[in-house]
Amino acid sequence: MHISSSELGLAARVSRLTKTYGSGAGAVRALDDVAVGIRRGEFTAIMGASGSGKSTLMHIMAGLDAPTSGSVWIGDTDITGLGDRELTVLRRRRVGFVFQSFNLVPTLDVIGNITLPFDLDDRRPSAIERARIDMLVETLGLGSRLTHRPHELSGGQQQRVAIARALATAPDLLFADEPTGNLDSRTGREVLALLRAASREHGQSIAMVTHDPIAASHADRVIYLGDGRVVADHRGQSAEQIAAFMLAAEQGAVA
């Protein structure tokens, strides 16, 4: 019997996911039989050291890269068999992205960047979407910056614009890849608080890739990756617990 992702309460999931780079003796297995689900309305952190496969997992889940084997669902859509055209539209309408840096199109102003996903669909935001954008602009404090170009904004403001754009389409899932990696710690905390608020208050599903225990401590749930496998899955972790776990995993790997 087949159970759909939504019946399981999942925004996205992968099953038996394997990703191999290269071939023959030089082959590297970045992901090894991974099965994981991102729960709807939750803020999930995906943690792991460099090379643990966390970025590869995110890229495949977001339809940016194809798996070697296994299946990927966004909502109830199996995206494994989709072509470039369908994946592009899927990313445009159902996935939001916030990266570490270079999030914004430099030649578009702030409002142009925020409404870009609608523009690409050749349509104007509906009344509901318009209201959501206005709300986002206000909560993120971007009201006075709408006609500014990205290079006129600070790093923190740029991340806010990226968050506004990612949330504007109310995506099934928001992917954040080291969203605080380029920010000072205070601005970083603000950005994390905004992500958490989006999840708590508006039920936004978020998957955040990070190697920073403090960033991960803002999440409801922390999934640990090591050597291409899920090694642990915890809820409500503090930064100390996360750091201790990471350290133990690292020492265990050495021993």
Binding site: D84, R85, R92, F102, L120, D177
Partner: protein, 461 residues
């Protein structure tokens, strides 16, 4: 680099063939006992040769400078790494310029040898076709002149185009540096003042030539110098003139995000796009000018001749205009190579941005449309500018030459006002040619742009 070899070969070959052709025509005239040694005609021919080759060499120089800017953009990481290890920016730039000299020399040599062979065959063919034996040997030391000029300008253009090497910091090898969204146009006050002075002086002379033309046909000589000066000013001040035109054309594209992106890209590196656009402007202006001048002349002659003009004269004028247009078209081919380069450079420098766009849901079709619009942006702006300038110059030439020709010989002489006649066929040919140019120029950059994989671009962060 291939582009630089190609354009230096074309411009050298163009120079060599023009020199051979004018030499042959001069020899032909000398051999004709009725015409004999015509100093004026020889002067006009050699002047036209210098003008046309000059335009070709200028456009080729711009193309080469842009080619080297492309090379630098593609090699930024490598240059930064060498800087990190301890290479000086200057030595890096000297190395690139030396490559320019080598490339220019190869291209010039290819062009020289190829065109000399064509000239030898051509002279033989012309002798045979005319049934004459004009004792003319195309192989002469003069032919080396365009080759040397082209090699040297390629060297200089490589030097100019690799200026950005100086701004590559060792830190760029470590990644994470954010590129400025807009290159600031260098403030070249000296150049801009010169350009403006030439423009004003040229315009005054043009006006003076037109006024004097009302009493004497020699007004055209004053106008001619006015035209040369003002056009030089225009080429020199390309970065003053073209950006407003580009902005205007860009605003026609519409308000959608992809249109705005396409329209903004030409203005991102205003110097580069303006220089390239002016290359196309030159070709279009010269062709339009000849077409309008000759059509206007014919209109006046017809009116003065009571509704008809001698067939012979009409044929001579038509042949002359066709030959001139064909010759100018060579510069247009070179400008086409340059446009490919310009767009490619834009794509290479925007890899990350294109990756971001793909991630956010821009389809390959939308990307293709964007690159095509970028190409159209430059060619439309250049074509419109060239058509307007060509009509003005062509009319000014005809007016200052014919202002004193009475239309109605029976009436007391009064100044004639020549209406600019814009012949539709050359205009259509220009529009068709620039359309083809746009489509062809967009092929390579489009392929590059659609090959950018989103994660590849993100991984370069």
């Amino acid at each position: 680099m291939g582009a630089s070899i190609l354009v230096s070969a074309i411009s050298t070959a163009f120079g060599v063939i023009l020199i051979s052709a004018t030499g042959y025509i001069a020899a032909l005239l000398r051999a004709d006992p009725y015409i004999g040694d015509s100093g004026t005609l020889a002067f006009v021919l050699s002047f036209l040769t210098v003008l046309l080759v000059g335009v070709a060499v200028y456009v080729a120089g711009v193309v080469t400078a842009n080619t080297f800017a492309t090379v630098v953009a593609g090699r930024t990481r490598r240059i930064a790494l060498l800087r990190l290890i301890g290479a000086s920016a200057r030595s890096q730039r000297t190395e690139l310029a030396r490559q320019g000299l080598i490339v220019g020399a190869i291209g010039a040599l290819v062009g020289l040898v190829g065109a000399t062979l064509v000239a030898i065959i051509g002279v033989g063919a012309a002798d045979w076709a005319l049934g004459l034996d004009v004792s003319f040997t195309p192989v002469e030391p003069m032919l080396v002149v365009p080759a040397v000029i082209v090699a040297l300008t390629t060297w200089a253009a490589a030097w100019a185009g690799s200026r950005r090497v100086l701004t590559v910091t060792p830190l760029e090898a470590l990644g994470g540096s954010v590129e400025a969204p807009y290159a600031r146009a260098a403030r070249r006050t000296g150049r801009n003042v010169t350009a403006l002075a030439l423009l004003v002086l040229g315009a005054l002379l043009l006006g003076g030539g037109i006024a004097y033309g009302l009493v004497s046909p020699t007004g055209v000589i004053i106008s001619f110098f006015g035209g040369v000066l003002s056009f030089t000013g225009l080429a020199l001040g390309a970065t003053l003139v073209m950006p407003p035109v580009l902005r205007l054309v860009g605003s026609v594209f519409g308000r959608s995000a992809m249109s705005r992106l396409a329209a903004q890209n030409a203005l991102r590196y205003p110097e580069r796009s303006s220089r390239m656009a002016i290359g196309v402007v030159m070709g279009v202006t010269l062709i339009t000018m000849f077409a309008v001048a000759i059509a206007s002349t014919k209109a006046v002659m017809t009116a003065a001749g009571g509704g008809s003009m001698p067939d012979e004269l009409s044929r001579v004028l038509d042949t002359f205009s066709a030959v001139m247009m064909g010759l100018v078209a060579v510069s247009a081919v070179i400008a086409g190579v340059g446009l490919v380069n310009l767009l490619t450079l834009g794509v290479v420098q925007r890899r990350r941005e294109l990756g971001l766009l793909r991630t956010l849901g821009v389809s390959n079709a939308q990307l293709r449309a964007m690159v095509l619009r970028e190409a159209a942006h430059i060619t439309i702006a250049a074509t419109v500018t060239g058509l307007v300038l060509g009509i003005v110059y062509g009319w000014a030439g005809a007016q200052s030459l014919l202002g004193s020709v009475p239309i109605d010989p029976t009436r007391p002489p009064e100044p004639t006002f020549v209406l600019p006649a814009v012949p539709p066929i050359p205009v259509l040919v220009i529009v068709a040619a620039t359309t083809v140019l746009t489509l062809v120029a967009a092929v390579v950059p489009t392929r590059l742009a659609t090959r950018v994989a989103p994660i590849e671009a993100l991984a370069e962060a």
